[in-house]
């Protein structure tokens, strides 16, 4: 396609898009004037009914817990896809272990980067666990805490120690974590079915509002999702790292 034709196509498309966009935006409610009903209802009854002060978590893990089950398995299935596509193919082989394999070859990590990464690891892990267990109290929860936890071993890699990362987070362990988290969430649902009469219905005491162990099953669900998400991200990271650093093609 010539340059003129492309510009013409962009012009027509751009004008059309602009018209539709402006028309659509003009129909929106004024800034800050939420007109939905659902949000206000949850705001009104969420704390008294569910004993959780972060209503986003109350929605995710209790009121609309079934949606989260689906989302969790979307993540699980997509990570399975990554593992399947990036598995070691015929004709590929792992590079022979070299003496510098421990110090990865991406770039010489400077001493400052190395020290900073190592110093960050405990802080990252502490924040991750804090966010997972305080899901029903403050913003955060299983997903947010899970991705932060997954960043911990990644900092080991940043510090220039790829193979150390494998020791900190061995493949089998993170795969088991991923699967156990996904299964755990489903099992919480089944426990609700068995003990409370409906799938994912709260079967634990709600506790006092604002306490660490409150909100019934939200804590458990948050922990299960945290485990699953951190496992899933680490499996994906280490598959990518393997591809880039360890596996090589036929020419090798």
């Amino acid at each position: 396609m010539s340059r003129t034709a492309r510009l013409l196509l962009f012009g027509v498309g751009g004008i059309g898009f602009g018209v539709v966009l402006v028309y659509g935006l003009s129909g929106l409610p004024a800034f800050g004037h939420y007109e939905g009903v659902y949000g206000n209802v949850i705001d009104g009854v969420g704390v008294t009914l569910r004993h959780g002060t972060d209503l986003v978590t109350a929605l995710n893990f209790d009121i609309r817990g079934f949606d989260t089950l689906g989302e969790e398995f979307i993540l699980f299935a997509s990570v399975l896809g990554v593992v399947l596509i990036l598995r070691q193919m015929r004709g590929e082989r792992e590079r022979p272990a070299r003496q510098e394999a421990d110090e990865h070859t991406l770039a010489g990590a400077s001493e400052a980067l190395r020290a900073l990464s190592l110093a960050m690891i405990p802080a990252i892990l502490a924040i991750g666990v804090y966010i997972v267990v305080h899901g029903q109290l403050t913003p955060g929860g299983g997903f947010q805490g899970g991705v932060i936890l997954a960043a911990g071993p990644l900092a080991v890699f940043l510090a220039g120690r790829y193979l150390r990362m494998k020791i900190v987070a061995p493949q089998t362990l993170i795969e088991i974590g991923d699967a156990a988290g996904a299964m755990g969430y489903a099992l919480i649902g089944v426990a609700g079915l068995a003990l409370a009469g409906a799938f994912l219905k709260d079967f634990l005491p709600l506790g006092a509002v604002g306490h660490l162990l409150s909100g019934g099953q939200m804590d458990l669900a948050s922990a299960a999702v945290g485990l699953e998400v951190s496992g899933a991200f680490l499996v994906a990271f280490s598959e990518f790292l393997d591809q880039a650093l360890v596996v090589s093609g036929e020419q090798g």
Binding site: F31, G32, D54, V56, T57, L106, I131, P139, G140, G141, F143, Q144, V147, I148, A150, A151, L154, F233, A236, F237, F240, L241, Q243, A244, S248, G249, Q251, G252
Partner: protein, 88 residues
């Protein structure tokens, strides 16, 4: 709309434009993570801290790392192909 929210929206617009304008994929990845940080600020000042927390790690660490690793793999492939042609 507060001044803070306007500033956050503007920084997202500028950073988004910068991602498109960066031509070298390697630099683009780094600009992308800056864009992610601008998004985090946006979510935070618009009172969505839950989304901001996920976005911090996903867009400033997770996504750039995966793109960088993929870029490295592509470069390695190209180098191997060149070497192969030299030998034949």
């Amino acid at each position: 709309m507060t001044l803070l929210q306007i500033a956050a929206l503007a920084s997202v617009a500028i950073a988004g434009g910068a991602v498109v304008a960066a031509s070298d994929p390697l630099r683009q990845t780094l600009v992308l993570s800056v864009y992610g940080m601008a998004l985090v600020m946006l979510f935070f000042v618009f009172q969505a801290p839950d989304v901001a927390l996920s976005e911090i790690v996903v867009s400033t660490v997770g996504l750039p790392v995966m793109i960088l690793l993929a870029l490295r793999k592509v470069q390695e492939h190209e180098r191997e192909r060149e070497n192969g042609e030299d030998e034949s």
